[in-house]
Symmetry: C2
Subunit: 183 residues, 2 copies
DNA sequence: CCCAAACTGGACCATCGGTCAACTTACGCC
DNA sequence: GGCGTAAGTTGACCGATGGTCCAGTTTGGG
């Protein structure tokens, strides 16, 4: 069980981190500053989240939960039921939308992460895409192509495109690419 | 003009950095250690390369020069002359080969880099791929697709695949993807 | 040979992520 | 309602890092 004050602090820390990320440059958001902004001691932050990576992962996870639910048990075309090709397209649309609304958070996580490809989120997304790809185009090396497609969501590119408000272009481009691949 | 001793130190520093990267974990390769391994003072390293990013970029550039030359003025299919689709395939084969032989260096550069997409190397590769893509498939958003394809070379994925000796799979997968796209 | 410019080295600095031991607080239980 | 204790909190502290600075050394053109 988590004590009430602990839960309150956890939320305060997450909120403060997000706030700092959205108003300051990533390199300016140190653990000290997060603690100060959240109104807690630095020790508390580490006690709660283990390390910087843990903090950022928790932040990403809080933003990603909704999507995971929709994919696992929501209505088609995102959830089960629709043809694989349509689910794929819907999934990438959804992830791009999510990522563009949270670029800073994603970037912070990537930067703090020692092994992106092993993070639970990446693993689950990769498994999902691989599955759909296998169903839609059995002749492909689905596992690999899934990596390639997911690589498009790297925060580098997202930031680059977001700066000029072109995230629609990314969605459209990826969509047409998937379409062409599966034809 | 660069003085003789300065040139000697520059080479020693680059050699030492590479040596350290190949034998130690990336996080263990600090600027102090590089300086010590090269047998020079830390100040010299910074005087020469400005900062960590500059060091790593110089290292990557030294490894990439050969490929750039081959692309600009070497024999087809890598150099000018061959049909765009073939040049594209040849280019990615070459880059993957290069990257797999220098993963550690690439990873170090990416990690030290504040803005990968603006680095001269990325920019020139992106321009090259965009040009070929435009010629081979005018209906695509070449600029964007070029970003997506180049994203496949991220050191994350390269490291992941290299650990199990699967870089051929990457080359093959990317090749089939390009082929499918241009058909 | 001489001297200005280029280069060098390493002590020094601010800052960072992370630890820890002393202290405080919440809450299940009687 | 009080109480004991497990859980939580804190900030001083630590070692390491990237980067600065300047007093001293070296180089090579005139």
């Amino acid at each position: 069980m988590e004590r009430a004050d602990a839960a309150r602090n956890r939320r305060a820390i997450l909120r403060a981190t997000e706030e700092l990320l959205s108003t300051h440059d990533l390199s300016q958001v140190s653990m000290d500053r997060v603690a100060a902004a959240a109104g807690v001691g630095k020790g508390t932050v580490f006690h709660r989240f283990g390390n910087r990576e843990g903090l950022m992962r928790a932040l990403v996870e809080s933003r990603v939960q909704e999507l995971s639910d929709a994919v696992e048990s929501g209505p088609p075309p995102l959830g089960p039921g629709a043809p694989p090709a349509e689910r794929l397209a819907a999934f990438f649309d959804a992830v791009i939308e999510l990522a563009s609304r949270n670029v800073k958070v994603m970037a912070a996580f990537e930067q703090a992460s020692t092994d992106r490809l092993s993070s639970p989120i990446y693993v689950s997304w990769h498994a999902h895409v691989t599955g759909l790809l296998q169903a839609a185009a059995p002749s492909f090396d689905a596992d690999l192509i899934a990596h390639l497609l997911l690589g498009s969501l790297h925060s580098d590119l997202m930031l680059h495109l977001l700066r000029t408000g072109e995230t629609d272009r990314l969605a459209a481009g990826l969509r047409s690419m998937i379409e062409t691949l599966l034809r």
